[in-house]
């Protein structure tokens, strides 16, 4: 048992009949870090999280939470964390206030403490105005916020969030990120799952990429991105006679460029400042550009890159 770890996962495996949903996954999560589990649909993120949070028995392997084995000391482990599941785990038929009161009481708070905590959380999550509406009238974002508020009742040192922003609009998503950052600032350890590279990049100190139940790669966002194919610049010229000239300009600035058709040039693009230089040179040579785009690496690229067999 290591005191620096909030969570230790060792050789964790889950089989559903023949299907191996999580396959021999091991990692450690440090106290105070934001740990992202990144993977596409069906990768095994939820299954891993459910095993970590005592909801699902592992087929084999171990998980400890602050040193407590989730299988052997499940109550002790449960007292250590808050969980926000992938699907809303609040009561639809009752109000936000009632939800918070009930979950506070179930968490062992006295009636007075529960009342106080409920008001605090409603205020903190800007839900005070809708506190007495039933959840079925809530928007997706409000529901998510309430869900998170419920997980924070006991101010747990460790918080699990399963896809906290899936299905939220961009603005609500940014708000959720803000909330998560605030929790981090207060010193919580956070384990979150996501399908989005930018979200993991934005929030996580370390990311574990999983696919088909296997841990593909673990590291800081920066180290992961190094493995990922870079952004690409795609540039088309209006006049196909000028394409070679344009290609030379792009090559000077970006080191390499390929012609993919009569008018389009594709080049690896890692320094955004270069774009102005390229455009200025093109202008100087009076080459007119008909189309220009920068393609960010997608999650698909990450997986292709990380899961592709290495040739050399």
């Amino acid at each position: 048992m290591n005191q620096d770890y909030a969570v230790q996962v060792t050789h964790l495996t889950k089989k559903f009949k023949d299907k191996v949903a999580v396959d021999d996954v091991s990692f450690n999560i440090y106290r105070g870090e934001v740990f992202g589990l990144l993977g596409p649909n069906g990768a095994g993120k939820t299954t891993t999280l459910r095993m970590m949070t005592t909801l699902l028995k592992a087929t084999s392997g171990h998980v400890t939470i602050f040193g407590h084995d989730v299988a052997k000391e499940s109550s002790a482990a449960r007292a250590m964390f808050g969980l926000t599941g992938q699907y809303a785990s609040v009561d639809e038929d009752i109000s936000a206030r009632e939800n918070l009161m009930i979950f506070s009481r179930l968490n062992g708070l006295s009636r007075a403490e529960a009342k106080q905590r409920t008001t605090e959380l409603l205020t903190e999550f800007s839900l005070l105005e809708s506190a007495d509406k039933t959840i079925s009238d809530f928007s997706g974002g409000m529901r998510r916020r309430l869900d998170l508020a419920v997980s924070l009742i006991t101010r747990p040192a460790l918080i699990f969030l399963d896809e906290p922003t899936t299905g939220l609009d961009p603005r609500t998503r940014t708000q959720m990120w803000e909330t998560i950052r605030k929790l981090v600032a207060e010193g919580s350890t956070i384990v979150l799952t996501t399908q989005y590279l930018d979200e993991a990049d934005e929030l996580a100190d370390r990311i574990a990429v999983i696919d088909h139940g296997k841990l593909v790669k673990i590291g800081t966002p920066a180290s992961l991105k190094e493995q990922v194919s870079q952004s690409k610049l795609s540039l088309s010229v209006a006049d196909s006679n000028q394409v070679t000239e344009a290609k030379d300009i792009v090559t000077t600035h970006l080191k390499s460029a390929t012609l993919i058709d009569q008018t389009t040039i594709l080049a690896p693009f890692d320094d955004s400042n270069r774009l102005t230089d390229i455009l200025m040179d093109l202008r100087a040579k009076q080459i007119s550009v008909s189309h220009l785009s920068v393609q960010e690496p997608t999650l698909d690229d990450v997986f292709l890159n990380l899961t592709a067999p290495t040739h050399n």
């Binding site: 449960r78 809303a88 009930i102 979950f103 968490n107 062992g108 905590r117």
Partner: protein, 258 residues
């Protein structure tokens, strides 16, 4: 503020869970409609339609069907527990309950305690409808209370069976349709509405084996004699037996629901 967690307390957790289920009902009063409409509808339909044919009059038929419909309503209210539990399990709220450091059985127990309110309402509705239609038992009011409590207890015991079914079944719809059929079979293939001796031989065998028949007989005897009979003791013991067997099974299924 430092939050200290008191040790998980089964009784308090169960009370909170029962409160939750009651709140759900307060926000959705239609959850009570089935246990109110069903006994009224059946009592009037059966009383006025078949009263004359079976007993020569509504009034003469009431001592037969009031206990019959009372128990049928208990059965049907008990089936509701199973559907409710299945719905809860599918909704993700149970995941939250399970991840809390609280008594594991509390969500189940809370559900089943809150359901006794449904049973109480169903009982009051059944007996009141009977009274309004002219049902006047010869025994004192205390015996009415006794049969009401016995009916509620039996309904509550049976709700553990349906809760187990709710836990094991695949979907809430499946729970509802199968429970509905079970409820129909059990209540019609019994002495709830008709004297058993009028049935074909093989059906008589089934009806006489039907536990619902025993419960209804026990209640009729208490109402006829104003006394606690040995039949009613057997029925009570049977009810306790159901709880003793099914409560642990249900809790076990609940804990192994992954």
């Amino acid at each position: 503020m430092e939050i200290k967690q008191t040790r998980s307390n089964l009784i308090m957790n169960t009370a909170t869970m029962a409160y939750r289920n009651l709140l759900k009902t307060v926000h959705n009063p239609d959850r009570f409609m089935d246990v109110i409409i069903q006994p009224v509808m059946f009592m009037m339909l059966f009383g006025y339609l078949f009263g004359g044919a079976i007993a020569g009059g509504v009034k003469a038929y009431l001592p037969t069907i009031v206990p019959g419909i009372l128990i049928q309503t208990m059965l049907s209210a008990a089936t509701g527990s199973g559907a409710q539990i299945r719905e809860d399990l599918d909704s993700g709220v149970f995941d939250r309950f399970k991840s809390l450091p609280m008594a594991h059985i509390a969500p189940l127990a809370g559900q089943l305690f809150a359901d006794s309110l449904r049973l109480l309402i169903a009982t009051i509705t059944s007996l009141t409808t009977g009274y309004l239609m002219g049902w006047r038992p010869d025994v004192g009011f205390q015996w009415i209370i006794v049969i009401a409590l016995l009916a509620i207890f039996m309904g509550w015991a049976i709700s553990w069976v349906f809760a187990l079914f709710g836990l094991l079944a695949k979907s809430a719809t499946m729970v509802q349709s199968i429970s509905m059929m079970g409820m129909m079979m059990l209540s019609f293939l019994s002495n709830a509405f008709i004297p058993i001796h009028t049935l074909p031989k093989f059906m008589q065998v089934l009806a006489n084996l039907n536990p619902i028949t025993f419960v209804i007989t026990a209640i009729r005897q208490i109402l006829a004699n104003g006394a606690w009979t040995s039949e009613s003791l057997i029925v009570l013991a049977f009810g306790i037996g159901i709880v003793v067997v099914f409560a642990p099974l249900t809790v076990w299924a609940y804990n192994h629901n992954n």
